[in-house]
């Protein structure tokens, strides 16, 4: 009962949205391998590897429950991370067959390191490119738009200047929202609209605020 309460507390503390990065999984695999080579069993090494960190402890507790519940397949696995499931599968197979899994764990850790290195290299370049586009959309476009507005205000007089500047402001804001959404959405095809909006709206709002500032200054620059 006490154990279940502890589990419940841990779940309440971290919630279901708690996720584990590749680096955390890789470090867990390395620790697991070190403890396994000392002669501990797979489950015992998992417990020792979790150490005092509550996040790793949660992995250990949920993994132990999963491994001991005779779960068939990965559908009942408590984790959404594929790599963590593969690590659990290695331990699972080690428990079922009773074979030595140190080589498998070593392969897994090496594979994770190589994968992380390659992915980080590509991700950093793609993110750099995306940030370059976003900076252009939310900073340079409002800047040019503000300069345009100031030229319109200084060259035209009367009602038409005000209408044109207001129209330009609306067009600019619409464009900033559309362009940030396109930049975010087409690079990540597997994502849902909610996560895309969550990612792109702060940048779009920032761009709209900058544009408003630029237009306000343009009215004083005449």
């Amino acid at each position: 009962m006490l154990k279940q309460l502890k589990l419940f507390n841990l779940r309440m503390k971290f919630g279901k949205k708690d996720s584990f990065s590749d680096a955390e999984i890789s470090s867990l695999a390395v620790n697991l391998l070190a403890n396994y080579r000392k002669g501990n069993s797979a489950l015992k090494s998992l417990e020792i590897s979790s150490g005092g960190d509550l996040k790793y402890k949660r992995i250990a507790i949920l993994a132990k429950r999963y491994l001991l519940s005779n779960a068939e397949g990965l559908e009942k696995s408590p984790f959404t991370e594929t790599n963590l499931n593969i690590l659990l599968k290695i331990i699972h197979i080690g428990i079922i067959t009773g074979t030595d899994i140190s080589k498998n764990l070593e392969d897994f850790a090496e594979w994770m390191d190589a994968k992380m290195e390659k992915e980080n290299k590509i991700r950093s370049k793609v993110n750099g490119m995306q940030i370059l586009s976003l900076v252009g959309i939310v900073f340079f476009f409002p800047l040019f738009s503000g300069i345009t507005a100031s030229i319109v205000r200084s060259s035209l007089t009367g009602i038409s200047a005000g209408t044109i500047v207001n129209g330009l402001r609306l067009i600019g804001m619409g464009y900033i929202v559309i362009a940030t959404l396109i930049t975010n959405s087409l690079l990540k095809p597997a994502r849902t609209i909610v996560s895309l909006l969550r990612d792109s709206l702060p940048m779009a709002l920032f761009g709209c605020i900058l544009q408003t500032v630029a237009y306000t200054f343009s009215s004083y620059a005449i």
Binding site: V126, S133, G136, F141, S160, I171, L186, P189
Partner: protein
């Protein structure tokens, strides 16, 4: 049709309404043209999105298939039987299509078909190019190894090609997303100074809100396609 599509429809209709609102003289023909262009731009976005989703899911399947083959070889080298190795990879695979495919392979072997033929069919189904020799099991094992090493080399080469093309694509993206609309605004200033009227505003809004985003979406799609095909 998913939520992204509904969002795109809503965005295009609101854009068209905004443009019609800006076009205060009630010109029915112009309004219809604007709505048509908004619908076309929305369709372009649909096509881009569906195209990329298709490519992405295909690459994920292909990648999962090859990863499963790696595991298969690993379990075989540990001395497990074909059936047992197949059972392990069916359990560990997280992609449903690959799981079903290997279950079918296992069933076919049980019915008396050779492993090479069954695997060949599975590869054909997922349209992965492979030149296996399906005659004998030991030759098949070697050709599987050869295929996997060639596949990983091709993937590394592809990712280096994608990394090279990133710089060029970032320049094009910067031009399409920032410089082109800004130059359009400057052109608009020139035309409005010559003849101050609201038709110019309508034209510029049409260009910046519909035409430029469509071109930008198309170019981003081509770039993302290359990135997915070469690196995933």
């Amino acid at each position: 049709m998913n939520t992204k599509h509904f969002f795109a429809i809503a965005a295009s209709i609101s854009l068209a309404l905004l443009l019609i609102y800006l076009n205060k003289p009630s010109d029915l023909l112009l309004s219809i043209i604007l709505l048509a262009i908004a619908t076309i731009s929305c369709s372009i976005y649909f096509l881009c999105d569906d195209y990329l989703r298709g490519i992405y899911s295909k690459k994920i399947r292909e990648s999962a298939l090859v990863d499963s083959l790696f595991q298969f070889l690993h379990y075989r080298s540990k001395g497990n039987t074909y059936q047992r190795s197949l059972s392990y990879i069916i359990e560990s695979s997280t992609v449903t299509e690959v799981k079903t495919g290997f279950e079918s392979v296992k069933r076919q072997i049980r019915l008396g078909r050779s492993l090479g033929e069954a695997l060949g069919d599975l590869f054909k189904l997922h349209s992965v190019n492979s030149n296996f020799d399906f005659s004998q099991d030991n030759v098949l094992h070697n050709s599987l190894r050869k295929f996997l090493s060639l596949y990983s080399k091709a993937r590394d080469r592809g990712s280096s090609i994608a990394l090279d093309s990133l710089q060029r694509n970032s320049t094009i993206n910067m031009f399409l997303s920032t410089l082109l609309p800004s130059f359009l605004l400057f052109i608009f200033v020139g035309t409005s100074v010559i003849s101050p009227s609201q038709t110019g505003l309508l034209f510029i809004s049409l260009m910046i809100l519909i035409v430029v985003p469509s071109i930008y979406a198309l170019s981003s799609t081509l770039f993302s396609r290359r990135l997915i095909v070469e690196t995933t």
